[in-house]
Symmetry: C2
Subunit: 378 residues, 2 copies
């Protein structure tokens, strides 16, 4: 591996440029949208038909969540069959019930009896606030949409930008210069077989863009030396003309305060990180905590009172780090775990960058691409 500092790249919106959540074996992903012409809101569901150990960390001040208490350390049920990211604020959490229904029909869940149908699928969920986007307050993900999202889940290409739960996402409302947000995905793979992937819905009160340079804040953090993972190329710098255009927009919007005044109504970043490494509940909890650092590096401000920022963590447990999970924690395992966690933070950063970079303008709101077309190669 060599540093790629001199090989900065362009944004490719036609593929999962930084990898995707379905690079983790054992996970399926489905996405569905609501909106006749343009997606207004939607659902993203990750299914783990064989079950996946899970944890979470909620760090925002205005969360909308479902079935999270069971994920705390020391509790009985350690595995989930799915995780749902949804639009529609707390109204949209009903889509998780639809996903649960689909899984129940497949007889997948926590087994509570001897008959195949006696299962309770465990499906934690979190929602972003996107109500009122496109002037429709009552257009929200439904039970049926959740069911259809689960039924459509598969592997392969993962749509980014205004797809699934990212359909109604916007960013930057707290500061003034609002832009279209979205959903993005990324994966970090190390030379010794560790994979950590992320999918993140970026609907933050804060901005994921440097207001001076126009660069995506996460661009500086796409790689981590500590991860010893494959390096990805950073995005090239905008032209001076593009930067001037961006700075003018920031100044105008900040003065106009167009998006100010209702920051509490329009935010929240939610996501999922998943790894092939065999991790316990307490380790997954810490992995989710560290993954929030990926948000901190790529969005500013983050974790405000107006965001409900929540990350879920999953382990499909194909790869054992070489230690007994029930033995006392050794320095060696602690170091190995720290690498896995940092991979998660980096995967989150990659996902945030992709979410913003792949967005398209809609409803009069510009997108990153509008300001920086020179950064794109398709």
């Amino acid at each position: 591996m060599t540093p790629h500092n001199e090989m900065k790249t362009k944004i490719d919106t036609s593929r999962n440029q930084y990898g995707s959540l379905t690079d983790i074996e054992g996970l399926l992903l489905g996405q569905r949208e609501v909106g006749e012409k343009l997606p207004i809101t939607g659902v993203t569901a990750v299914l783990a038909p064989e079950g996946a150990a899970a944890g979470f960390e909620c760090r925002g001040g205005a969360p909308a969540t479902h079935e999270t208490d069971l994920l705390r350390c020391g509790n009985l049920v350690e595995r989930v069959q799915g995780v749902v990211l949804t639009g529609g604020s707390s109204f949209g959490l009903i889509s998780a019930c639809g996903v649960q229904q689909y899984l129940a029909e497949q007889h997948l869940g926590w087994r509570v009896g001897t008959s195949p149908e006696e299962v309770v699928p465990i499906v934690p969920a979190a929602a972003i606030f996107d109500l009122g986007r496109s002037n429709s307050f009552t257009t929200r993900p439904t039970f049926q949409l959740g069911y259809e999202t689960a039924a459509a889940a598969g592997r392969g290409y993962v749509g980014e930008g205004s797809r699934g739960a990212g359909s109604g996402a916007e960013v930057g409302g707290l500061l003034g210069p609002g832009l279209v947000g979205g959903i993005g995905t990324g994966c970090v793979k190390t030379e010794d077989g560790i994979s950590v992937a992320a999918i993140v819905v970026v609907n933050s009160a804060g901005l994921p863009i440097d207001i001076e340079t126009g660069e995506l804040l996460g661009n500086a953090h796409l790689n981590s030396v500590f991860c010893r993972a494959e390096l990805v190329t950073k995005i090239a710098a905008p032209t001076q003309k593009e930067i001037s255009h961006w700075q003018a927009y920031v100044a105008a919007e900040t003065n106009r305060g167009k998006h100010q005044g209702t920051p509490g109504n329009t935010n929240t970043v939610i996501g999922i990180i998943a790894t092939n490494v065999d991790l316990r509940r307490d380790e997954l909890t810490r992995m989710a905590k560290v993954a929030h650092n990926g948000l901190a590096r790529s969005i500013s401000p983050i974790h405000t009172l107006f965001d409900g920022d929540t990350l879920f963590s999953l382990s499909t447990a194909q790869l054992n780090l070489g230690n007994d999970l029930h033995a006392p924690l050794t320095a060696e395992r602690a170091l190995a775990l720290s690498r896995v966690y940092e991979c998660g933070a980096t995967a989150v950063t990659r996902a945030v960058v992709r979410a913003v970079a792949t967005a398209h303008s809609k409803g009069g709101l510009p997108c990153y691409r509008d300001f920086f077309p020179s950064l794109y190669d398709n």
Copy 2:
């Protein structure tokens, strides 16, 4: 006030003998059941049309909860418009979405726009595991049942026993001697105007009954000297013949292990405590923590890995304790708060006692009354 030790009373199932949740002004309560002949499961909804400050504490190892993260200290939204207790395990949490829909139609909720309909009703919820009771695994509370429960909410008499979320409740499965559980309510009122009420669904892995004496464990804790509240009369002791009958049942069931083997499938205690005292989020959080002591006193064991024990706390804020809520905590206020919290624990104990005492046998499972008919006066 005088001690009532010499004036032990009988159980009156025709009224809310120990007060009820709707003794707290500003709260409405609705209950609905599922089951053609006998209630198998159901929903209990408490509505706070004017909003109520809220907190919670989950202390069981297998919780099924909805919209609880927002209730943590330091978060943005401090008031809820409703709390839902439901059967159906996590499947039943969808009933909270029905309650939310009803409240949204009333334009009650967290305001997120200028139009009356632009509200997000905040409706946290918790579920008990009652799936498979009466041999029906798929009979569960629905969105529609939640909606109807909210629409029917009012004040006045609160049904106890097999009503609402208590419809499918059973107790004691972990130990062997299973009995019908249920829902109960109680209220503690002090001489200086403090009211703290509770409503609790008792579906515990543990037993709320002394296996030797047959007395309800909570009977010894119906009053608290510290509360300086009105005293309620304790329930009289069973006859020796009744005690012998009970002991024989305990021995037979424990030996038979009839209910053993699936403790993880059949448990959880959930409830709500509400007060007229003006309390902050952090204070309500502590109130919910202390209220769990009411469960500890009345059920044994409690908070097992097979229970999802969760209590919500509400303040309707009609009564100020005479301190500025934003001033540093004084010893005086700390003492006053401690009394309020203890009232909550006692109200929970009263509710647990009522839940078990008012239950009726069904589906071949006996109830407390079957063993101790001499304790009843109607």
